[in-house]
């Protein structure tokens, strides 16, 4: 069983016990434990179930690469699924649970899949569930979704805070092992600003476990002193619990810091996402040990040799009492030696290499450990926990030579440099046959904006495993990096070290070499996703020869650990099956993030009211106080209507429309886009921007204009006013101001840069109030306007006035069909003017109205609305706006596009009015059907509804729509099926429902 060994464990403080929960059980650990080490100390080896076969799974690793140890953490809305037990620091009161099992961890019904494994081969989703088609949706998928899958997310709102943080440094160093620390010292001594990040809470990395001699002293002392020295330098920042998750174009780096996860009830933000610009990046991200592929290598108790050593040395936890070590390299001998020195039993070291290990083998032998060279594990025995192994020759098919009883297996298949960050932004890899691993190709590094290397690798991430090489290369690389920055130093000399020489690793991708299919079908490559050697072989056999295809077919490396343990082993099996060498098969693409980060950290502060800015008009608070039901329009909030006491929204809109049609209404139209176009070529420029002529517009006059894209599609509309000889004020839609302003700038800067024109978006500089209805003129006269009679201010004209000493501009334009004035006033006087108008409320029966009444009234008049009648595929001709397309002008944006054949196709759907025969409101977005079916058996559609309202004026449903040959079919009836399988009949009518001759607006 796994247990705590008193007197061991450099990181735990046995005088500080902590209590935590796992699956409802109260357990005890120590300060300094990880959740993983504390569970192991409590003999909780079984930690989860595998994804597909629900096989019992124990911890395999001790760090971020752990594939099995996924748990749920916390409670209620702070619950976090899929957290790694190995990277979760223990604290008093921690609550955790296992996942992916039903009904319990110990007894899981899904384990039946294990016996069905021959029915669930690679690609089984694609193969098995294809026929019959409906069965997938209704039978297979719901069952699979329930039985497969990881932890469940919470449903409530995340109560924690998250933040983003920006850092600009000379050198970013990722990884706080000895190479990262030493690199930081060299860089810092040169005067560079250094940021060093380390994913764990502790600096020192693997060396602090293996404890090689350095400068004739212990490495632990060297690490402590170096850390202290670095912390004392004000050009150095060190951040623990911070993982480098990605490197992007031009060396932009992301790091993820966990601020409060390691204790209960810590204040402040929970996670911080660092966005880092470093002039140079050095990754010292270490290496990850690989599993060996032998039968039943997934039984709880089989663990990476380095993890066994780590749990023992750092946490004083033994995985078993009798541990068999199996390896193809020298490093695993350290595990055997550590275990033996701690008083534990190591019955055997199995070394696949016929010639075995170097100096470390001698040390092991001297301790009395039996070593068998050229041997292998044929199969592991045990179901929920290792009971023993069968020994066999590495050469051959696995004939059992000897049964050895044990309760743990420490395996080592060699080390893979962590090259993720190097690869994220384009660094290339070389296969190193000597090391049996991919390592960075230093000739093809990731490059920055200047085309030169922006990222370098040091330490075991570079494939250097011996301490002498690690520090020497770190020194050389860091000196080269700071030289790029124009810096140098001789104040960080290379420490003296003497590493233990090791024999080279041998490539062992299968154990034994000739393992039978029976053994291989129990040999796991990807523990989390349940991918076995036979699955990858099958993929190759079925033609999935590309590594990217084989990955997706088998799901190898697609779990939350992203194949940190499994990728190289799987790749080797694939290349073997294809009879190719590993480099020619290549690796799958490394993509950020290196390890999972919280969604909260990505969102950062951008949640709720901070998600996006809200634009408010100067009258916003007034609207809010007077019952405004808000409608978002772009980033603006506009009153949809003002709901009075005892009134429904529908009734409010009804009341507002009726008031405008019979008395007078006022609208806050401040959001309307306003772009000032000035300069001697303004007219010429606007003639290109608008489809109609603007240059001949008279001073004091307004004209409705259309703007198309170069593709010919209608994108915006609005009224243009000629202000003076060289100035025009262009009104745009509320949502379109920024786009149209940007479009104008683009054409001026990139095409017609010889035009003398200046455009300014003055939308927010002016408030605009629309006064609408029969009494409108009287209201303005009362305010003191003197030039607004129909002679001095005819329809589509404007005048300057003074109201209570404030300069205003009055435009006589109408979007409602009523007598209508739009009063423009500097924004700081917007609320003042609004209040002055509303003070006349009683006298004239003034009713404030919102956007819905505006929309209803414009629809009654058949005026189009950008975004309703247009959708990016509609041209002005479709809307009967041919009159606004200048024939006199040689060119305008969209003119050439309108000459394309399809634009004059008579079958294009065209604007009409629609009236349901029963007076009801036709459903929004409804499509009209014609006779016959299309090539996929759907009913032919002949038109659609673009706007549909109940008209309080006409007391019936009215709609605008686009219908094939619509204008030629006035009086015909067409059918609109609804979502409830009924059909609404509608008559095609003129789109102008109300006051077609315009008497009301021209008074």
């Amino acid at each position: 069983m796994s247990s705590r060994i008193p007197g061991h464990g450099g990181l735990v403080n046995s005088s500080k016990p902590l209590t935590f929960q796992f699956n409802g059980k109260e357990l005890e650990g120590f300060q300094g434990d990880t959740l993983a080490s504390a569970l192991l100390a409590n003999n909780q080896l079984l930690i989860g179930r595998s994804f597909k076969y629900h096989r019992p799974r124990g911890l395999v690793a001790s760090g971020a690469e752990e594939p099995n140890g996924l748990v749920g953490l916390g409670e209620a809305n702070s619950f976090e699924p899929n957290a790694r037990a190995t990277t979760t620091e223990l604290f008093d009161g921690l609550v955790s649970c296992s996942q992916n099992h039903w009904p319990s961890l110990e007894f899981d019904i899904g384990y039946v899949n294990n016996y069905l494994s021959s029915l669930l081969p690679a690609g089984f989703y694609y193969k098995t569930f294809i026929h019959p088609r409906p069965a997938w949706k209704y039978i297979f998928e719901p069952i699979i979704r329930k039985s497969a899958g990881l932890g469940k997310p919470t449903k409530g709102k995340d109560p924690d805070k998250y933040e983003h943080f920006y850092a600009y440094v000379d050198v970013l160093i990722v990884g706080g092992g000895i190479s990262g620390l030493y690199s930081a010292k060299v860089a810092a001594k040169s005067g560079a600003r250094v940021l060093l990040i380390e994913q764990t809470p502790h600096l020192g990395g693997q060396a602090s476990i293996d404890n090689p001699l350095i400068d004739q002293g212990s490495i632990a002392k060297w690490i402590t002193e170096l850390t202290k020295e670095l912390e004392g330098m004000n050009n150095v920042t060190i951040k623990a619990r911070t993982v480098g998750v990605g490197v992007y174009d031009h060396g932009y780096s992301l790091a993820y810091e966990r601020l409060t996860d390691h204790e209960l009830n810590l204040n402040g933000s929970r996670h911080r996402l660092w966005k880092i610009r470093a002039k140079q990046i050095i990754t010292a991200t270490g290496a990850i040990e690989r599993p060996l592929s032998f039968a039943n290598n997934d039984v709880p108790g089989v663990m990476l040799a380095s993890a066994v050593r780590n749990y023992l040395t750092n946490y004083g936890v033994s995985i078993g009492d009798r541990t068999v070590v199996v390896t193809n390299n020298d490093d695993a001998y350290r595990t055997a030696i550590s275990l033996k020195n701690a008083g534990l039993s190591v019955p055997l070291i199995i070394d696949s290499r016929p010639s075995g290990a170097g100096e470390l083998a001698k040390t092991a032998r001297d301790l009395g450990i039996r070593i068998e060279n050229g041997k292998a594990i044929s199969i592991v025995h045990g179901k929920d926990r290792v009971k023993g192994i069968s020994l066999c020759d590495q050469v051959g098919s696995g004939t059992v030579l000897e049964e050895i009883s044990c309760d743990a297996v420490a395996m080592s298949g060699g080390w893979s440099p962590v090259v993720h960050l190097w690869s994220h932004c384009g660094g290339k890899l070389n296969w190193d046959n000597e090391l049996c691993a991919f390592r960075p190709d230093t000739q093809l590094p990731p490059t920055g904006v200047n085309g030169l290397a922006c990222l370098s690798v040091v330490g075991s991430a570079n494939g250097d495993l011996l301490i002498d090489d690690i520090l020497r290369v770190t020194y050389e690389v860091t000196l080269r990096v700071i030289k790029e920055l124009g810096l140098e130093t001789n104040e960080a000399p290379l420490p003296s070290t003497k590493g233990i020489k090791e024999n080279s690793i041998s490539a062992v991708w299968k154990m034994p070499y000739g393992a039978s299919t029976k053994l291989k079908s129990k040999t796991w490559l990807d523990f989390q996703n349940d991918v076995k050697v036979t699955d990858v072989e099958l993929a190759a056999q079925e033609g999935f020869e590309s590594v990217e295809h084989a990955k997706r077919y088998t799901t190898l490396g697609m779990a939350t650990d992203q194949g940190k343990l499994s990728n190289i082993n799987g790749l080797a099996i694939l290349s073997e099956s294809l009879h190719k060498d590993i480099p020619s098969v290549g690796t799958t693409t490394f993509r950020p993030p290196y390890s999972p980060i919280s969604m909260g950290s990505i969102a950062g502060e951008a949640r709720s009211e901070l998600f996006q800015p809200i634009r408010k008009t100067p009258m916003h608070d007034w609207h809010d106080k007077h019952g405004a039901k808000w409608e978002p329009v772009g980033h603006w909030l506009r009153p949809y209507c003002y709901v009075q006491k005892g009134e429904s929204v529908k009734q409010a809109v009804f009341r507002e429309v009726t008031a405008c049609r019979n008395k007078v209404g006022v609208l806050d139209a401040s959001t309307l886009g306003k772009i000032m176009v000035r300069g001697k070529d303004s007219g010429k420029f606007l003639d290109m921007i608008y489809t109609n002529m603007m240059s001949n517009l008279k001073l004091g006059k307004c004209r409705y204009g259309l703007i198309c894209s170069e593709n010919g599609f209608l994108i915006d509309d609005g009224v243009v006013a000629r202000i003076d000889e060289n100035s025009y004020l262009c009104h745009t839609t509320s949502g379109g101001a920024e786009n149209i302003h940007s479009m104008m700038e683009e054409w001026l800067q990139t095409e017609w840069w010889d035009f003398e024109v200046y455009v300014t978006n003055v939308t927010e500089q002016f408030s605009q109030i629309t006064v609408v209805g029969e009494n409108a003129r009287r209201v303005l006269e009362k305010l003191g306007c003197s030039k607004i009679c129909s002679d001095s201010l005819p329809f589509m004209g404007w005048v300057d006035e003074k109201v209570f000493g404030v300069d205003v501009r009055v435009y006589r334009i109408s979007f409602s069909g009523e007598l209508s004035f739009e009063i423009s006033v500097p924004s700081n006087k917007g609320l003042f003017l609004w209040n002055e108008i509303l003070s006349l409320e009683k006298e004239f029966g003034i009713t404030p109205y919102g956007t819905e009444a505006l929309h209803v009234m414009r629809a009654e008049k058949g005026f189009i609305m950008i975004g309703d009648e247009t959708d990016g595929t509609v041209i002005p001709q479709d809307l009967g706006l041919d009159w606004a397309l200048s024939k006199k002008k040689n060119d305008y944006i969209g003119k050439r596009a309108h000459q394309r054949l399809y634009m004059s196709n008579p079958e294009r759907w065209k604007l009409v009015g629609l009236e349901s025969t029963d007076g009801s409101v036709i459903p929004e977005g409804a499509y009209a059907i014609g006779l016959g079916e299309n090539e996929v058996g759907q009913k032919v559609t002949i038109g659609r509804v673009t706007s549909t309202y109940y008209s309080p004026t006409l007391k019936k449903g009215i709609a605008l729509g686009l219908v094939a040959y619509g204008p030629d079919r006035l009086g015909e009836t067409i059918q609109f099926p609804t979502l409830t399988n009924s059909v609404v009949e509608a008559k095609i009518v003129s789109p102008i429902f109300y006051d077609p001759d315009g008497f009301k607006q021209n008074v």
Partner: protein, 109 residues
């Protein structure tokens, strides 16, 4: 996240300050152009493995449009220059040829 140099601000800024505007040095086709010329102007874009000329706007900065020459392979940026020109200036071409001696400017017709 590219680092772009706005030639108007003369500042190196993050890509998020900018808006990409696609291929540079297109010749506008309008009334009088053939269907094929117009189609090509609207839709056909180069997708080179190598040097690409691009339009960018410093939209969250000074608002100016400019051009850059960029390697689509290494992401190296050979320089940025005014959008108010019909072909890349000499200095940009020299910068490119320093790294890619074989490269020659070909204007789009």
């Amino acid at each position: 996240m590219l680092l772009l140099n706005c030639p108007y601000c003369n500042l190196s800024c993050e890509e998020t300050e900018f808006q990409a505007g696609g291929q540079a040095h297109l010749k506008r086709q309008s009334v009088g152009s053939s269907d094929q010329e117009f189609e090509s102007y609207l839709f056909a874009r180069k997708n080179p493995k190598g040097v690409h000329f691009e339009r960018w706007q410093h939209v969250n900065g000074c608002g100016k449009w400019f051009h850059i020459a960029r390697s689509t392979v290494t992401l190296e940026i050979f320089g940025s220059y005014s959008a108010q020109t019909l072909s890349p200036p000499k200095q940009i071409r020299v910068n490119i040829n320093k790294k890619l001696p074989e490269w020659r400017w070909e204007s789009s017709k």
